[in-house]
C-alpha cells in the first residue's frame, strides 16, 4: 500500500488533535507516514502510533529557521522517494502555503480547506460562505490536500510509528526568508481558535471592550474565544481572534455566537460548525437561520446564566 505523508502539527513534542484527524483520513487512502519537523518526536510518536502511523520521518529543526520553503522541499523530496499516494496537511495559513509550494515542486495540485476526503482522493469543500458544497480532485501527480481541523473525526488504530531520520539539505533558495525571532502572544490557557472543539464568539452585542462575558462562558466550556468583525473593528478584541471571511475559519463541534447578527462575511468563517447556538436581541438576525438552538434575548443576562448553569453541572 502506498504511503500517505501526513505533516505533523506539534507544540514542543505534543501532537495536536488535528494530526490524529489527518492520520485517520490518511488510512482511507493508504499507509500513513507521519512527517515530523524539529525536536520532540520521541515523546510524540506514541500518539502517532495510536492513530495508525506506520512510519515517522523526522527532519531537523533547522527547517523551521526559514519561512515555508524548506518544509515544502522536505515534503516534495519524501513524496518522490517514497512514491507517496498523497500528502495531507492541516488547513492552517502556514500549512496551506507549504502545501501550495509542495504542489508546485511536484507539478501536481493542491486542494485547500477540505472538509472531507475519500479513499479515491476526492475532496469536499464548502464554498461561498457555505452556500455550495463542491467536490474536487487533483488532475495529476501527488495530490496535496489541506484539511480543516475538526472535519474528520479521529479514530484510533495502531501503527508501528517506526522512526526514520531524514537528512535534508536546505537549498540556498529556500533560505531567502529567515525567521529571526518568534513572538508568543499571551492567549492564556485557552485552546487555539482554529483547532478548538468549542468556540464562543462575541459581536456587536457585547457593546464594549469588556469581553469578560464571552471569556467567562468560553472558560467554563474550555473553549476558544472568537470575535466578529464588528467587534474587532470597534477595537473591542484583538484582530487575530476575528472569525469570518477576512479572518479565521473555524469548524468546531460547538459554536456559540453571542450578539452576532450573522452577516455572510461572518458565516463564511463558521458555517461548517457542527452545532450552532446563538443569542441575539434581534429575532430577525440571520444567525438564527443557522442556529440549532437560539435564544432571542440580551446576551448580558443569558450568557452569565448559561455560565453559571454549566459550572453547576460540572
Amino acid at each position: 500500500m502506498a504511503e500517505v505523508l501526513v505533516l505533523v502539527d506539534h507544540v514542543d513534542g505534543e501532537v495536536k488533535k488535528v494530526t490524529t484527524e489527518l492520520l485517520t483520513a490518511a488510512r482511507r487512502i493508504g499507509e500513513p507516514a507521519a512527517v515530523w519537523v524539529g525536536a520532540g518526536a520521541d515523546s510524540g510518536k506514541a500518539k502517532l502510533a495510536e492513530f495508525g502511523a506506520e512510519k515517522v520521518y523526522v527532519a531537523p529543526a533547522e527547517l523551521n529557521d526559514y519561512v515555508v520553503a524548506p518544509k515544502a522541499e522536505l515534503l516534495a523530496k519524501l513524496a518522490g522517494e517514497k512514491s507517496a499516494a498523497a500528502i495531507l496537511v492541516s488547513a492552517t495559513a502556514e500549512n496551506k502555503e507549504i502545501a501550495g509550494r509542495t504542489a508546485v515542486k511536484l507539478g501536481s495540485g493542491v486542494l485547500t480547506d477540505v472538509v472531507d476526503v475519500t479513499a479515491e482522493l476526492v475532496a469536499e469543500h464548502s464554498v461561498f460562505g457555505g452556500a455550495l458544497v463542491t467536490h474536487a480532485k487533483v488532475a495529476s501527480g501527488t495530490p496535496v490536500v489541506a484539511i480543516r481541523p475538526n472535519s474528520v473525526p479521529a479514530e484510533p488504530a495502531s501503527g508501528a510509528a517506526a522512526v526514520e531520520e531524514v537528512s535534508v539539505e536546505v537549498s540556498e533558495a529556500a533560505k531567502g526568508a529567515k525567521v529571526v525571532e518568534r513572538v508568543v502572544q499571551e492567549q492564556g490557557a485557552r485552546p487555539e481558535l482554529t483547532e478548538a472543539a468549542i468556540v464562543v464568539s462575541g459581536g456587536r452585542g457585547v457593546g464594549s471592550d469588556d469581553f469578560s462575558v464571552v471569556e467567562k462562558l468560553a472558560d467554563s466550556l474550555g473553549a476558544a474565544v472568537g470575535a466578529s468583525r464588528a467587534a474587532v473593528d470597534s477595537g473591542w478584541y484583538p484582530n487575530q481572534f476575528q472569525v469570518g471571511q477576512t479572518g479565521k475559519t473555524v469548524s468546531p463541534n460547538l459554536y456559540i455566537a453571542l450578539g452576532i447578527s450573522g452577516a455572510i462575511q461572518h458565516r463564511a468563517g463558521m458555517q461548517t460548525s457542527k452545532n450552532i447556538v446563538a443569542v441575539n436581541k434581534d429575532p430577525e438576525a440571520p444567525i438564527f437561520e443557522l442556529a440549532d438552538f437560539g435564544v432571542v434575548g440580551d446576551l448580558h443576562t443569558v450568557a452569565p446564566q448559561l455560565t453559571e448553569e454549566i459550572e453547576k453541572r460540572k
Binding site: 519561512v67 495559513a93 504542489a103 480532485k137 488532475a139 432571542v296
Partner: protein
C-alpha cells in the same frame, strides 16, 4: 523602490455568488469588486512609496470587467497598471494563476511584490507562496507589519501563537493581512486622475505565459461537482423569559457538551 501590487477582481460577497456549468466562477451572476484584502496591499505599497520613493504598479489578471478593479486601485494612488487578459487564462486555478503572474512579473521591473493574504472568493491562501516558489524569491507572507531599510526587508509574519519576525533581501514577495493599515479612500481628484493613468494590456503570449499550462483544460485541480449546501435542519429558537441561559445549558447537556 518599485512595487507591484497584485489585484484580483472577485464577486461581491454581499450578492449571490454562483458557479457556471463548467464549475468556474460565474462572473455575470454577481457584481465584481476589488478583493478586499488587496486594498490593504495597495495601501501598504503606497505607504512604502511615500517613505522610500519609486513607483507602484498594479498587476491584475482577469477578463475585461477587471478594469473596474484596476481603476479603483489606481484611484487609491497607484501610478500605472498591467492587465493580463486572455481567453486562454479562463478557468485557471490558484497554482496556474501564480504561474501566469510570475511570468507577467517578468515583464516588469520591481523590488517588491505585494498582495493580499487571500481572495474572498476562492480563499485558498496559496498564491503568494506559490508565486514566491515560481519566482525563486523570499516569501514574506501573512505580514502584519512591513519595514524596508535599503535592500533589507523585515516583516512580522502572523502565526497561531503571535508572530515571527522574518528578514530577507529584496526583491521579495510580501502578502499582507487585514488590519496592517487603514486603506485610504480615493479622493475625487485621484479618481479623475486615475482615468488618465496608463493601463498596459498584455495577452498571454505577451507575458510569456505558456498557454498549454493555463486555463480550465490544464487546471491542476478539477471540480467534479457542485451543489447547493443541504439546508440546516431548522433549529429551536426561544424567547428569553429569564431562563434563556438555563435552556441553552439543557440543550448543551442533551448534546453531551456539558
Amino acid at each position: 523602490m518599485n512595487i507591484v501590487v497584485l489585484v484580483k477582481q472577485v464577486p461581491d460577497t454581499a450578492t449571490e455568488r454562483k458557479l457556471a456549468d463548467d464549475h468556474t466562477l460565474d462572473r455575470a451572476a454577481s457584481d465584481g469588486v476589488i478583493n478586499e484584502l488587496d486594498e490593504y496591499a495597495i495601501e501598504e505599497a503606497l505607504l512604502l512609496k511615500e517613505k522610500h520613493g519609486g513607483e507602484v504598479t498594479i498587476l491584475s489578471m482577469g477578463p475585461d470587467q477587471a478594469t473596474d478593479s484596476i481603476r479603483k486601485a489606481l484611484s487609491m494612488g497607484a501610478d500605472k497598471a498591467v492587465h493580463v487578459n486572455d481567453e486562454a487564462l479562463k478557468g485557471s486555478d490558484a497554482l496556474q494563476t501564480a504561474y501566469a503572474l510570475s511570468k507577467a512579473l517578468g515583464t516588469i521591473e520591481f523590488d517588491l511584490v505585494v498582495l493580499g493574504s487571500e481572495s474572498t472568493d476562492a480563499r485558498t491562501g496559496v498564491v503568494g507562496a506559490a508565486l514566491a516558489e515560481y519566482l525563486g524569491l523570499p516569501q514574506l507572507t501573512l505580514a502584519g507589519k512591513v519595514d524596508v531599510d535599503g535592500s533589507a526587508i523585515k516583516v512580522q509574519r502572523q502565526t497561531d501563537y503571535g508572530y515571527d519576525v522574518v528578514e530577507a533581501q529584496l526583491p521579495a514577495v510580501v502578502s499582507v493581512v487585514e488590519k496592517i493599515n487603514e486603506p485610504r479612500y480615493p479622493s475625487f481628484k485621484l479618481i479623475m486622475q486615475a482615468k488618465k493613468k496608463p493601463v498596459q494590456k498584455l495577452g498571454a503570449a505577451d507575458a510569456g505565459i505558456d498557454t498549454a499550462k493555463v486555463g480550465l483544460a490544464a487546471a491542476t485541480t478539477q471540480t467534479v461537482d457542485a451543489a447547493p449546501a443541504p439546508p440546516r435542519a431548522a433549529g429551536t429558537i426561544v424567547k428569553d423569559e429569564g431562563d434563556g441561559g438555563a435552556k441553552i445549558a439543557a440543550f448543551l447537556a442533551d448534546k453531551k457538551f456539558v
